[in-house]
Subunit: 457 residues, 2 copies
């Protein structure tokens, strides 16, 4: 059965069993699922059903329940925990890795957060509290502090024994080697360990040229390193190069997905934590600021049109075609902007090659303008039976599509130079630019034309 079909069947069964109140059957069904699948099931349930299902599960199998919560992400997860006591939450959180726990705590209501942290501190379960001390979106925040390390004076045989007796090790494929003061000094793969005689000192077989992240490294940079060096995990060190944690590739995948969503969202003026089922009032609150900014810029563009009211009243056909010039500028600028923003995000566009990028976009912009301008001119001529409006349209289009291309390149590059995320503010600047320039060039040209050939219109 395809995965989605299977999930749908589980969702239907869960709903039925909830209605029947068949708690033990429900529990049986849930316990047969992988946490990732359960998270999908939870997502598809209505809020009330989701909460009821979670309550059944967490009482009998708090590990599976909490692993599901971890998969659901901190927001939805925290919502499920909101009505529990701080004691319950602190106990449940022990079931999941401390990076996930830290993220959940962050999303709890203010007063609950303090109480839960206090309890965790008293229990000395460690890790969670420390993680929250690192800034958001850094390696320190997303790392797992339970990292297995070998002492540099061990032999290969001793290392294998240490590995066999250790527990709760998230990743054993890279074995990090530390000195007596826990400075990170090397790495050995498990496979290499198996290939050498047991008495071989680790120092002789470890690789000392290893890639690590610092606790304050941005998570996006960590993801880029793991992805480009094809790593399965990366060790995290503090400012003294002491090993304090590990980030595994599955966490990196989450970062990559989140960053892609963030870019996509920022280009559309959305808050990065909005999801399909964010409550309407919250969505409204998150989207309005962007729309207000856009309304402001729309009025700015409208005021350009207002300047030319006299021209329009003499030649109403201008009003028919002016949105085309502005709109096509917006479309072309969006293409350029997207290529540039993605190029920056993927690391393909850097300072040294940005002039080349600008030149290229300018050429493309001119080409687009000439082609689109000619097509638009012919269509407008046929539509109005007047070649003159076609010529105006063509010239304005060339100007605006050229401006769109250069602005679409320079604005994100400029924002990046100012250390502002280019995806964040580029779109609104660009549309303002192409609207204002589109109306101004088309109506301005028309005004000039009417001055010299007043019989037109």
């Amino acid at each position: 059965m395809p995965p989605q079909r299977r999930i749908d069947v589980v969702v239907d069964s869960v709903k039925r069993l909830l209605r029947l109140g068949a708690t033990s059957n429900l529990l049986n069904l849930l316990q047969k699922q992988h946490p990732a699948d359960l998270a999908q099931v939870f997502t598809e349930l209505q809020e009330k059903d989701r909460y009821a299902t979670f309550t059944v599960l967490v009482e009998r199998n708090s590990r599976l329940a909490m692993e599901t919560v971890a998969e659901l992400g901190p927001e939805v997860g925290a919502a499920l925990l909101r009505n529990r006591s701080a004691e319950d939450i602190a106990r449940f959180l022990q079931e999941i890795p401390s990076d996930d726990a830290a993220a959940l705590i962050e999303h709890l209501p203010e007063e609950l957060r303090g109480a839960v942290l206090e309890l965790i501190r008293r229990k000395q379960t460690g890790g969670v509290e420390d993680l929250l001390e690192y800034a958001e979106q850094t390696a320190g925040r997303i790392m797992n502090p339970n990292v297995f390390a070998l002492a540099e004076d061990m032999t290969a045989g001793e290392a294998i024994t240490a590995l066999q007796t250790s527990r709760d090790v998230e990743m054993v494929f890279y074995l990090y080697v530390v000195d007596s003061r826990r400075h990170l000094v090397g790495v050995i793969s498990l496979r290499r360990l198996l290939l050498v005689p047991p008495e071989t000192p680790l120092k002789r077989i470890m690789t000392t040229d290893l890639i690590s992240a610092r606790v304050d490294t941005d998570q996006e940079e960590v993801a880029r390193q793991v992805a480009s060096y094809n790593l399965l995990a990366i060790p995290v060190v503090d400012e003294e190069n002491k090993l304090v944690g590990i980030i595994t590739v599955d966490d990196v995948i989450d970062v990559i997905k989140d960053e892609a969503t963030e870019d996509l969202y920022r280009l559309a003026g959305l808050a990065s934590d909005e999801r399909v089922f964010t409550p309407p009032v919250e969505s409204l609150r998150k989207r309005l600021p962007w729309l207000v900014i856009n309304l402001g810029t729309a009025f700015l563009a409208a005021s350009v049109v207002a300047v030319f009211q006299g021209v329009i009243s003499k030649w109403v056909a201008l009003a028919v075609f002016m949105p085309i010039v502005a709109g096509m500028g917006g479309n072309a600028a969006t293409q350029t902007l997207t290529v540039i923003v993605r190029g920056i995000a993927l690391g393909e566009l850097t300072w040294s090659n940005s002039r080349k990028a600008l030149l290229k976009e300018a050429v493309v912009g001119l080409g687009n303008g000439l082609t689109m301008g000619m097509v638009a001119a012919v269509v407008a001529w046929l539509m109005m039976g007047d070649p003159r409006i076609g010529v105006l349209l063509a010239v304005a289009m060339v100007i605006n599509l050229f401006v769109a291309a250069t602005a679409g390149t320079l604005i994100p590059l400029g924002l990046r130079a100012l250390k502002v995320d280019p995806a964040l503010a580029s779109a609104v600047f660009i549309t303002t630019f192409t609207d204002v320039c589109g109306f101004f060039s088309f109506l301005g040209l028309a005004a000039l034309f009417l001055r010299y050939f007043p019989q037109a219109g």
Copy 2:
């Protein structure tokens, strides 16, 4: 030194050494770099320098050169190989995994492609040709066919010996177990193998409940499985469940990045293989079709305006505000569309919960319309000193933002039902919709108003 600074230094040195013709120094410098870093260096070089550097490297260290090519991706990579003989290319391709080789061959010029494939077939290096028989974007195409497998009748001790003597194994952390006819029957982690006595039969310790992909599974689905079950690799089987390959998490990361780029690009009307430095003529050719479609829809919207030319000539202020109604509809629709498209891509939005999503967006759309409409009305009133145009603007805005929200939800869902990628065509439909509806509602209301209060304007 931060990674980007270090790369910049290497780029500068490469340029200097090329100018000086200091080939052996250049080679020394290059050989000290990781292929991923070299790929970054290559990206930042001008085309001529990149080609010269590659030529120096490939003659002396074809493995490093080709690993760099593999990192650069098939398009840039194939361009570097374009001027070599088919014999050279076939020889070089042996240095990299067959999935990367297959992708490169796909991007070679037609005539070279045939010759290279013929040579590879004769050499029987295997793998590459078979991979090209699978459809693009499937598991079969991106898998590595060299997968290490253990026989189910082995003991743990025999398995470790087999592992120690094997070479060229890409991933040894999951050890797949097959029966005598190579059917996939189980999986064992390397760690588990170390923990049991050597005489333990594999059958007793292997997990039989394992997740696999079929050769024809879509690569996006493979990525979703690996990501949601936190796997490091997934085995690939044919229609008879025989083990034919393995996909590792680093390939999955590439898929996730590519799919994110694709979504971002499709929303902007870009071809998914366009990059910052795609040559201008090619970019132009790729972007024009989308702009032509948009021009068509812009003229459709313009023809709505044309219908109301009489109304505009009586009341020119309408021309000032009509782009605001259309534009704000477009902005609000883009927000909705992005949330919906990303929700579909991340698997959060499914059939069963789509009605809930529609309801939510409709409420948000109405809320947006009422708020924005009121603000716009006040601003327009102040700007023109005429409250009536403000009222028209407010009503049209409520209508258009409500339409934008429902269309922004229904169009991607509808395209998905028709098995068309919702990211692909949604944007153009939506803008057409919001433009036409924006002009029609605003100018139509104005026409009605003028009919009953002809003294206005």
